[in-house]
């Protein structure tokens, strides 16, 4: 088990009902973690539509999570 901080934005923040939380997880990468929390909180966005950032950098979905990481799941961008 590792502990990571998850920050939520936009539709995920709304569906989760909070801005951030610290979770204990057995997920070894962002995609596993997303599947875990998406099921729990009934997120509507399919995992293939989500990108991940760790410690304010984009990462691939197979990035190896470490204890203390701060992770953000990014819904499809819609700036402009």
């Amino acid at each position: 088990m590792i502990k990571v901080r998850i920050k939520y934005f936009a539709i995920l923040r709304e569906q989760r009902g909070l801005d951030e939380e610290i979770v204990s997880t057995r997920a070894i990468n962002p995609i596993q973690l997303y599947l875990e929390i998406a099921t729990k909180h009934k997120f509507t966005l399919a995992p293939d539509r989500i990108r991940a950032a760790v410690n304010d950098e984009f990462v691939t979905q197979d990035y190896a999570l470490v204890d203390g990481d701060s992770i953000v799941f990014l819904p499809p961008m819609a700036g402009g």
């Binding site: 984009f58 819904p75 961008m77």
Partner: protein, 146 residues
Amino acid sequence: MFKILNTPLQVSDLKQTLHNHQAGACITFEGWVRDINEGKKVLRLEYEAYAQLAEKEGAKILAEARERYSIINTLACHRVGLLDLGELAVWVGVVAEHRGSAFDACRYIIDETKARVPIWKREHYSDGARAWINCANRGDHKNVTR
């Protein structure tokens, strides 16, 4: 520099910082809040950004534009928060010796910004509904809340 701001963008101040006696052309892009999107009447827009990463990725896009095109300077800002119809959401300015590269760079910057910078948009409609744009899941409109 790519800035995320939660206050109205001051276009003349932004453009002022780009003034340069070597520059012969200045192209600006402004993204305004429109009243209709895909047939639905929009009352206002709400933008939200993951500011640290947005400014970092935005700066990377500006650096790419400087490498790809022969330009002198460029600056971009994106506003976040609640915006009314007609308000300025995003501003991109590019100055160059000649106009061709300024047009190309400006277009590159706004195209890449929309694709890569972590900013999200929620439309507020006249019927009270709100929806996060690009977040419908397989077309089922589950993202619309009332």
